[in-house]
């Protein structure tokens, strides 16, 4: 019946073109919207996975209340119930640290899931140059270990990352932060820890990840220099871990958590809010596409219904020369399938062209652009899904008119005087 189905479609060019357009636009919208949205998501995911640790072990920030204060400060008096507070103490312990970094190092070395790890000391500091100051984070690490855990090496714009450990007080600064401070390569920045006198650090290079939240606030220094700045020599408050398979991060973090009171979090737990936004985006994307395809599907349904009515005479002819109800069903169902498949393929091609166009749009260097261009995903799964959704919508929409055509009997059509 394929031969006749094609002849039917070719014979009513206007109706076929209009129906086809619905599926074409539906598939094209799916590819373009998904390409754009997933491109953005993959870019951010790549940043989340490769620019930071897969698992971060950090010092627990213990809350301090009257029970903790009584135990630490007035244990003898507290036993006799002699301590009472006018205002209850509230806050966290200062200088949180990982209690047993050596123990963690042993665990990480032995675990086959671990690719690399890097002990860190990160401190919230105030960067200043003359009268200009900016809040930020100074991350102290062993450069040779740090480069094995994150992609920082690939984002270096000037200087060499490993040079932060050669000589004292050298830092690599995010381009945004350096711009905020109105400073440049080779200059000196004062870093203030909030308690002691500001300490001068020499800028020996810059980095740019494309994420403003990092580039505008972060600087990297040698572990020993940052420990000294914070007044916590030989202590670390973070352990960044890279796994061989980042998909196992959550499971691995859960395995490690019982081993120590330190906080062990996987990248997806740390960025749960981000990932939830992605889920909402995905839901919106599917709803939008479903609406477009639903409208296209209704178009096919309506047109095929009209066609079945118009083609009653032809159905009668086929039936009295021996064609079966299943053949008639196939005739109209095939028309829906052909419209779906051809429309989807054209939609995929146009969607691909649209994606190439979107990729050329400059986005001013924000986090979406990485550099200056929009990020678009060309994941084959997008195209496969668009094809399946388009074809299935068309097939589903044509099923009911096809079934009603299959139920017509030749004598009923002849009696109804179908012309």
């Amino acid at each position: 019946m394929l031969f006749l189905a094609i002849r039917h479609l070719v014979a009513r060019k206007k109706q076929t073109t209009l129906t086809l357009l619905g599926i074409v636009f539906g598939s094209m919208a799916f590819v373009a919207i998904s390409g754009f949205m997933l491109g953005f998501q993959y870019f951010l995911l790549d940043q989340l996975i490769n620019n930071d640790a897969h698992i971060r072990i950090s010092a627990r920030e213990d809350r301090v209340d009257h029970e903790v204060a009584n135990k630490d400060l007035y244990s003898k008096l507290d036993k006799n119930g002699l301590v009472s507070w006018v205002v209850d103490p509230s806050g966290t312990r200062s200088n949180p640290k990982i209690e047993n970094p050596q123990g963690w190092a042993e665990i990480l070395k032995k675990d086959p899931r671990v690719e690399a790890y890097s002990p860190q000391f990160s401190a919230q500091v105030l960067f200043s140059v003359g009268a200009i100051a900016a809040n930020g984070k100074l991350i102290g690490s062993e450069p040779d270990m740090q480069v094995r855990v994150t992609n920082i090496q690939s984002y270096i714009k000037t200087g060499k990352f490993e040079d932060i450990s050669s000589g004292g007080n050298r830092i690599i600064v995010g381009t945004g932060l350096l711009k905020k401070l109105g400073s440049g390569d080779g200059s000196t920045i004062f870093v203030y820890n909030g308690r002691d006198k500001p300490v001068p650090f020499k800028v020996i290079g810059t980095f740019e990840t494309g994420g403003r939240q990092i580039d505008d606030t972060t600087a990297f220094g040698a572990l020993i220099d940052v420990q000294k700045l914070a007044g916590q020599p030989n202590e670390i408050n973070n352990m960044a871990v890279r796994l061989i398979d980042f998909n196992r991060a959550r499971e691995t973090a859960h395995d490690w958590q019982p081993l120590s009171p330190d906080k062990v979090e996987s990248w997806d737990e740390i960025n749960a809010a981000f990932l939830n936004v992605f889920r909402i985006q995905d839901a919106m994307r599917y709803m939008m596409i479903a609406t477009i395809l639903l409208v296209a599907g209704f178009g096919i349904y309506n047109i095929l219904n009209v066609v079945v009515t118009q083609k009653k005479k032809e159905i009668a002819i086929l039936r009295f020369i021996g064609y079966e109800p299943g053949d008639i069903l196939q005739l109209f169902f095939l028309q829906g399938i052909i419209l779906g498949v051809v429309g989807s393929i054209i939609g995929l091609i146009l969607g691909y062209i649209a994606c190439l166009g979107i990729e050329q749009i400059s986005f001013g260097g924000g986090p979406m652009g990485g550099g200056t261009m929009m990020k678009v995903s060309f994941d084959p799964m997008i195209y496969l899904r668009a094809f399946l959704f388009g074809s299935l919508a068309a097939a589903f929409a044509s099923l009911m008119p096809a079934r009603s055509a299959g139920k017509l009997t030749p004598i009923d059509i002849i009696r109804s005087g179908a012309e």
């Binding site: 006749l4 002819i317 009295f320 020369i321 021996g322 030749p410 004598i411 002849i414």
Partner: protein, 226 residues
């Protein structure tokens, strides 16, 4: 074996209106029978029952000894495809297909279209349609369209050809050509022809005439001219 009608009753509607009242007759293989009667006498209804397009309210129709009410759906479709040909007053051709493709449709169902193409082309030539095989129905005259429809009905060399006023929409010359084709099929191929007609002259050219009056057989015998 031929056709056999036993106590054939057909009613329509609610409350039922009986159109055919217990008809009994048989038609032998190779006969040329005309069914005549006034409009509403039930001749087309009878033709559709005999041609397996419709089912009687009661009674039975047998084709070659097979009771149509008991044969399977597959057998019924095979019968329509290979043993029965139908021609109507209006040509009933598929407008998207050429003359040749229309005639090949029954063979296509039987998956014999490639093997039969040469024979079908010869048939079209015999029907005076040489050079018009690739024309669409709308590019043919009314007479040519009806000849294509007859060629399609005869394409599978059926044992039975049912024609429902096939000359009703044609001019005299074309009606004459069509009647000639029926007579030739009956004479040369041995096709059993059952022809519904209003035209006494065409009815008279059959071997036998069954005249219906109000759903009953008024006369059954050699054709009369009045």
């Amino acid at each position: 074996m031929g056709l056999l009608a036993k106590n054939l009753v057909k009613s329509f509607g609610e409350p039922p209106t009986t159109v055919l009242h217990g008809l009994n007759f048989s038609i032998k293989e190779g006969e040329f029978v005309s069914l005549t009667g006034r409009s509403g006498s039930g001749k087309s209804t009878l033709l559709y029952l005999l041609g397996a397009l419709d089912a009687p309210t009661s009674g039975q129709v047998e084709i070659d000894g097979h009771d149509l009410s008991t044969i399977s759906s597959d057998e019924l479709h095979r019968l329509r495809n290979q043993s029965i040909g139908f021609v109507f007053q209006f040509h009933y051709l598929l407008p998207e297909l050429t003359a040749l493709e229309n005639v090949l449709m029954p063979a296509r169902k039987a998956k014999k279209d490639i093997a039969m193409e040469k024979t079908i082309r010869e048939l079209l030539t015999e029907f005076g349609l040489e050079g018009k095989e690739n024309r669409l129905p709308r590019q043919l005259s009314g007479g040519e369209q009806q000849r294509v429809a007859i060629a399609r009905a005869l394409s599978m060399s059926p044992k039975y050809l049912f024609a429902d006023e096939p000359t009703g929409a044609l001019d005299t010359a074309n009606a004459e050509i069509v009647m000639g084709l029926f007579e030739k099929a009956n004479r040369e191929l041995g096709t059993t022809v059952i022809l519904v007609t209003h035209d006494p002259a065409f009815a008279a050219r059959a071997h036998r005439q069954i005249k219906l009056v109000d759903g009953r057989i008024d006369s059954d015998g050699p054709p009369t001219t009045n």
